[in-house]
């Protein structure tokens, strides 16, 4: 008979009570574990999101946010300055062009000239003609936008306005990334190879290629020059796919503005350095020359909404954990009171206080171990449901905010054809799957045991105060 054997024996002395205590503990522990699993799943997703988009800064010409901006364009020298800022790992310049179907442009010219159509609006976007037809129909929204912009001219006859066509965005890129700094996802063909030299290759969005019956190897014209489709990419959205990418010098040549940049995509080496790098970058470029903004504001909203789920689940985890500790504390206080006389006997025959205290702590741990086994089973069934319930109740808010961001589309800095904040956000929210990984469960159970030891320590210390003379007192 050892202390441990005695503790186990004592834990089962009153079987009905033991079953009741284990059941209550299992609920608290199960809840704690489920919350921890949900918390870990969301935390993992947040980290993943931050890692993918959070380190990208976008530099626009000062005052250039929105298509009616002014100021001086960005230059290659500024790109070099940006690259020299501490913690900046890469700087990719882009040059945006607005491509209009040659036929439609001719009609527009007769009708009083094109206004800003929104969407890609940066003041540094130059409009050139193309043989391509946009993959997106203008629709009511596009026509209305067109009319609203166009009436500053003399036309004024909205009903007589010709069918408006949405332009195609061509972006010259200095590396194989989209305008948010993410690597392009090519579905067919290859990249453009060296993005720092003039090339006749182009990467087309899937829908744009489809609309114009183009595949890898086909040709089309921009500004009467012939280009070959080198690859197709899928940005995941209709808007993002109504675009094509050229090498940066090609776009600059087409715009007849060599060395000029629409935006710079700056990637910072780590998430912690983003804020510092943003400040340093702004200082290096000067507030009068460039605006530095953190890209993916919409994703940030989603991240912060996920963050609140993370906080809620963490608080619930701590609360459930504390409840388990409290249950242990109360049960053990009760047991110590009940076994006062027996503790007196042990002391009377020479048991040291620590042996008795240890015996009670071990007894508490036996109860917690049983509660954990049942609780872990409960958690593995419940955590998926709990996580999705937590997230779906938060998705609504995330959607509203991202919609608001979308509506401001024409003003979004630099256009960003690759980003569909709404699609991205809801996608990431539903892709949080809570699975009870053994590591997380083990960590949770370790925490439960830690709390149980603390909870059991108080009553165990109380046993030290019981005097051996209790042995002579009647029950």
């Amino acid at each position: 008979m050892s202390v441990l054997a005695r503790s186990i024996g004592n834990a089962f002395r009153n079987k009905v009570r033991t079953a009741a205590v284990v059941a209550v503990l299992a609920v608290a522990i199960g809840l704690a574990l489920a919350m921890l699993v949900a918390n870990q799943a969301v935390a993992g997703k947040v980290a993943e999101l931050n890692a993918s988009v959070g380190t990208v800064l976008t530099v626009n010409p000062a005052g250039g946010q929105g298509f009616e901006g002014g100021g001086e364009p960005l230059t290659a020298e500024q790109a070099a300055t940006a690259a020299a800022v501490p913690d900046v790992s890469t700087v990719v310049g882009t040059k945006a062009l607005r491509l209009r179907n040659a036929a439609a442009a001719a009609v527009d010219a007769g009708a009083g000239g094109p206004g800003g159509q929104g969407g890609q609006g940066s003041q540094s976007a130059t409009t050139v003609t193309t043989s391509l037809t946009a993959a997106v129909d203008a629709g009511t929204l596009g026509t209305r936008n067109q009319a609203a912009e166009g009436t500053t001219g003399a036309t004024g006859t909205a009903t007589a306005a010709p069918a408006f066509s949405v332009p195609v965005t061509a972006t010259g890129i200095g590396a194989e990334v989209d305008t948010t700094g993410k690597a392009l996802e090519l579905t067919q063909g290859t990249g453009l190879g060296d993005y720092t030299v003039v090339s006749t290759g182009a990467l087309l969005g899937t829908t744009l290629a489809e609309k114009n019956d183009l595949t890898v190897g086909s040709t089309f014209t921009v500004k009467d020059q012939s280009f070959t489709v080198a690859g197709l990419f899928d940005a995941g959205t209709a808007f993002g796919n109504n675009a094509l990418y050229l090498t940066l010098p090609t776009a600059q040549t087409l715009a007849e503005l060599p060395g000029e940049l629409s935006t710079m995509i700056v990637t910072v080496n780590s998430l912690e350095n983003v804020d510092a790098a943003k400040t340093a970058l702004q200082a290096a470029l000067g507030t009068d020359a460039a605006d530095v903004s953190q890209g993916e504001r919409n994703l940030e909203t989603a991240v912060s909404s996920l963050g609140s789920v993370k906080n809620i689940s963490f608080i619930a985890f701590v609360a459930a954990l504390a409840t388990a500790g409290l249950i242990i504390l109360l049960i053990m206080v009760m047991l110590v009171r009940e076994r006062r006389r027996e503790i007196g006997v042990l002391k009377a025959i020479g048991a040291p206080n620590r042996t008795i205290g240890l015996q009670f702590v071990l007894e508490a741990l036996v109860l917690v171990a049983l509660g954990s086994v049942v609780g872990a089973a409960v958690a593995s069934f419940a955590s998926g449901g709990i996580a999705s319930a937590l997230i779906s109740s938060n998705t609504a808010t995330a959607t509203v905010t991202t919609m608001a961001g979308q509506r401001g589309g024409p003003g979004i800095p630099g256009g960003m054809p690759g980003a569909n904040p709404l699609g991205g956000a809801s996608q990431l929210l539903t892709s949080v799957t809570a699975s009870a990984s053994p590591g997380v469960i083990a960590a949770g159970i370790t925490a439960v045991f830690g709390v149980a030891v603390i909870g059991a320590l108080v009553p165990a210390l109380l046993t030290a105060r019981i005097r051996p003379i209790e042995v002579l007192r009647g029950e």
Partner: protein, 235 residues
């Protein structure tokens, strides 16, 4: 050797104070077999609890081989109870959900004796108090009063203490078993130089002890000393 000096223990009950132990002094040489008789409520159990360091006196002191219990910290008192004292409680005070043999092994566990040695000694002691071997593994709450009493005696002997304090150790035993227990205790004092103090209502037990005390309203008096050899002779 145990020396008791002006020992007093008072209890407050309501606005009355009672003194079950009132200025008790005596001395026992090592190896003495002594008895205390007295009416119910005269303070016998209270006195024994003071000698066994279960309780602290209101005043006075107990010296064990010259060492004052009053001056010892709690940790040392625990050690004293574990090593030097074997206590047989009037109410047995065994652990009800443990077996007879586990109860006897407990004091040895606290003294850090190896498990195999504990088990062997526990079985030996249970045989000495004449507990059926097939009852050694039985839980205490399935033993009779007399069987429990013998387990309690075996537990008191477990760590071979220098002083055994036994509160009515034969109270629940039949005459024959009682005789055997008396014989066991007197052989311990004779052959192992163990000091033994028994509280008893049993005249025949008292008559077999070296020294006989009587407790009356907290005051201790000694009856005329007689040699152990003479004890068996008719008075």
């Amino acid at each position: 050797m145990i020396e008791v000096k002006n020992l007093v223990r008072t209890f407050k009950s309501g606005d009355r104070t009672i003194k079950p132990v009132n200025d008790v002094s005596f001395m026992l040489e090592q190896g003495t077999l002594a008895s205390i008789v007295g009416k119910s409520g005269s303070g016998k159990s209270t006195l024994l609890s003071l000698l066994g360091a279960l309780d602290k006196p209101t005043s006075g002191d107990v010296l064990v081989n010259g060492v004052s219990l009053a001056g010892l910290p709690d940790g040392k008192l625990t050690e004293y109870r574990r090593r030097d004292i074997g206590f047989v409680f009037q109410q047995f005070n065994l652990i009800p959900n443990l077996s007879a043999v586990d109860n006897v092994m407990l004091p040895m566990e606290f003294a850090g004796i190896r498990k195999a040695a504990r088990l062997e000694r526990a079985r030996e002691l249970l045989e000495q108090v004449q507990l059926d071997p097939d009852k050694h593994g039985r839980r205490i709450n399935r033993l009779s009063g007399g069987e429990q009493q013998r387990v309690a005696i075996a537990r008191a002997l477990a760590n071979s203490p220098k002083l055994i304090l036994a509160d009515e150790p034969t109270g629940n035993l039949d005459e024959q078993t009682g005789e055997h227990i008396i014989e066991l205790l007197s052989s311990l004092s004779r052959d192992h130089n163990t000091t033994i103090l028994v509280v008893t209502h049993d005249r025949s037990l008292a008559n077999k002890t070296d020294r006989r005390f009587r407790l009356q309203q907290g005051r201790l008096t000694e009856e005329a000393a007689r040699s152990r050899a003479a004890a068996g002779a008719p008075a």
